[in-house]
Symmetry: C2
Subunit: 350 residues, 2 copies
């Protein structure tokens, strides 16, 4: 039984359990794939490799903390459910990353080649490589649903939980659509694309596993909503100002990718005409020269765009913190864990 009084910090314990569950899951599915066709194991391995190579396992932590914020007790049967659901959401994440890297033409992910880059290298033919990449994402999504179905929810909450998982899935997809279309309302994109499956979704699912009251669910959503936005804003800051050695992303990654981040949205109003012209030249140009990219990064700083984003980030974090503090219906131990997650979001360097 998982207990925060144990010697290991709770987060490390949850992560270790989720990793063990994923390892076992992939072993089983690899064995099953071998019975289906001689080539099926290749797709399964590509997903296993990406999933096990890294990842912060933040979402399973959100599930666990959300659970603990709604009930003081972790029962014998609860922990396996939390861990299985955590593994499900990690596979949803793999499905999204595999597609995202293909859509953004990203070659690197979690310190190794993206699934897309690996497939291109193996098959040489771009259309075939892209097609097999999408098939790998299909399998990852199928596996996420299998693990979701294996999760034991409290009787009477199962339907609600399955809906919550699908709502989360579809919000991410609609958020990704806005992202690709460079939709002007960056906050809406962030709310749908990141907030949904990073914070609101897993927190709701953890609460449903704990058979939470409506009051508890609402309190958690008031916390998760601004925290999800903060998480994405931190991502935007790191994608432009982060240390490449820590983030694993090259200098100016988001700029070269043409990502329409909160930084860009702020800069449009704050920059001089000259700086704005240079920004528009560099944005989305993968072959832009490094000095040009560095000049744009500096202008994002000097224009005050970075400061505006950091200020919004701080405001969202304190909004989340206030919401949590005001919720007397939540269990103190779990609240402590949620605050730890808030700090992780605020301070993360990758």
């Amino acid at each position: 039984m998982l207990n925060i009084q144990g010697r290991e910090p709770w987060a490390s314990q949850v992560i270790a359990r989720v990793n063990a569950r994923l390892e076992k899951f992939f072993d089983e599915r690899l064995a099953h794939a071998r019975t289906l066709s001689p080539r099926a194991p290749e797709l399964v391995s590509s997903i296993a490799e990406l999933t096990m190579r890294g990842g912060k396992r933040l979402r399973p932590l959100v599930i666990y903390a959300g659970f603990r914020a709604c009930t003081p007790l972790v029962g014998e049967r609860d922990l396996p459910s939390i861990v299985t659901l955590g593994a499900a959401i990690e596979l949803l994440q793999s499905y999204l990353l595999i597609q995202d890297d293909w859509m953004d033409n990203d070659e690197q992910r979690r310190g190794g080649p993206s699934t897309f880059a690996a497939m291109q290298r193996q098959f040489k033919d771009p259309q075939l490589g892209a097609s097999l990449t999408i098939l790998a994402s299909d399998v990852a999504m199928g596996y996420a649903i299998e693990l979701l179905h294996e999760t034991r929810f409290p009787s009477g909450r199962r339907g609600e939980a399955l809906s919550a998982f699908q709502d989360m899935h579809l919000e991410v997809v609609f958020g990704q659509q806005l992202d690709l279309l460079a939709h002007e309302d960056v906050t809406l994109t962030q709310h749908l694309k990141t907030g949904s499956y990073t914070m609101r979704g897993p927190m709701r699912l953890g609460a449903l596993l704990a058979d939470a009251s409506d009051e508890q669910l609402q309190a958690l959503m008031r916390f998760a909503q601004p925290l999800g936005i903060a998480f994405q804003l931190r991502d935007d800051v790191l994608g432009t100002f982060g240390d490449p050695a820590v983030t694993g992303k090259p200098v100016g990654h988001d700029l070269r990718e043409g990502k329409y981040t909160a930084l860009i949205a702020e800069a449009r109003n704050l920059m001089s005409a000259e700086d704005r012209a240079r920004l528009l030249t560099v944005l989305g140009d993968r072959s832009a020269a490094l000095p040009e990219v560095q000049a744009v990064i500096r202008s994002l700083e000097t224009s005050g765009a970075r400061a505006r984003v950091e200020a919004t980030l701080a405001a969202r974090l304190s909004e989340a913190r206030r919401a949590l503090m005001a919720a007397s219906c939540l269990v103190p131990e779990g609240v402590g864990m949620l605050l730890e997650l808030l700090d992780r979001t605020a301070l993360r360097e990758r």
Copy 2:
């Protein structure tokens, strides 16, 4: 209540109900999408358009006939479940078609532009068009799962049914992988890619809805297995020898696409060296001249490749028929419906 004694043939009644369910579902989801983002309705509409534009609705018929073969009664609550599950599998089909058309670069589907072609036309940018196509397929898959979750299975069979749906989904994906890799074992590709979600999967799901016995399930699988292969073989024959005005596919479609069909597998052993050389030149060449394509089609006929495929098709159909006739555990009314589906498979022209 649906009754085969009604004036309308049972198949028309099932199709009308499934279409009505899909219409209602899309109306609801479109309304929901409008609350999520100003662009989300576009993705939903693209799926609705493809799904409602045509389709034989064969799989819902297989579910219904499979159900009726296992129980003499259709209860008040059974029909909505059959119809909801039928709608779910039609959305799984839309998800697969959207991806398939992108992978094969097919511009036409069900008498209109494929989702891929429509996205390309709207957005001009090939990478963006492809990305939005995949997002549409993601939403279709999410919707399929939502409808699956709404289906009421008999108590105690729900877990088995959810697994059956996922097994079906993953077998198709692994079959598509083999197809893309032009895997030499064409029968395995057909078994996984088509047999699974055209016959075995929906029949198993229909049987589970009827709370079938193990004996009934096994009997249905002995019927569905060869029938699924026959369905794909008919597809292969129509893809090369079908009437373009009826199939909606241009002359030599499968050849130009480079599809490794049962015809090609047979032709490799039967053709003269000269004919084989020409086949290999035309296979996968989208810009091959019509006289060349027509010459290859003739040689597929004169070499005996077509006759071999037709013979295998006939053998599979009689294998399926024998299996059904030998199954005394099945309900005669449902068996009659299954035989109707077998005839549809054998005689279909598109």
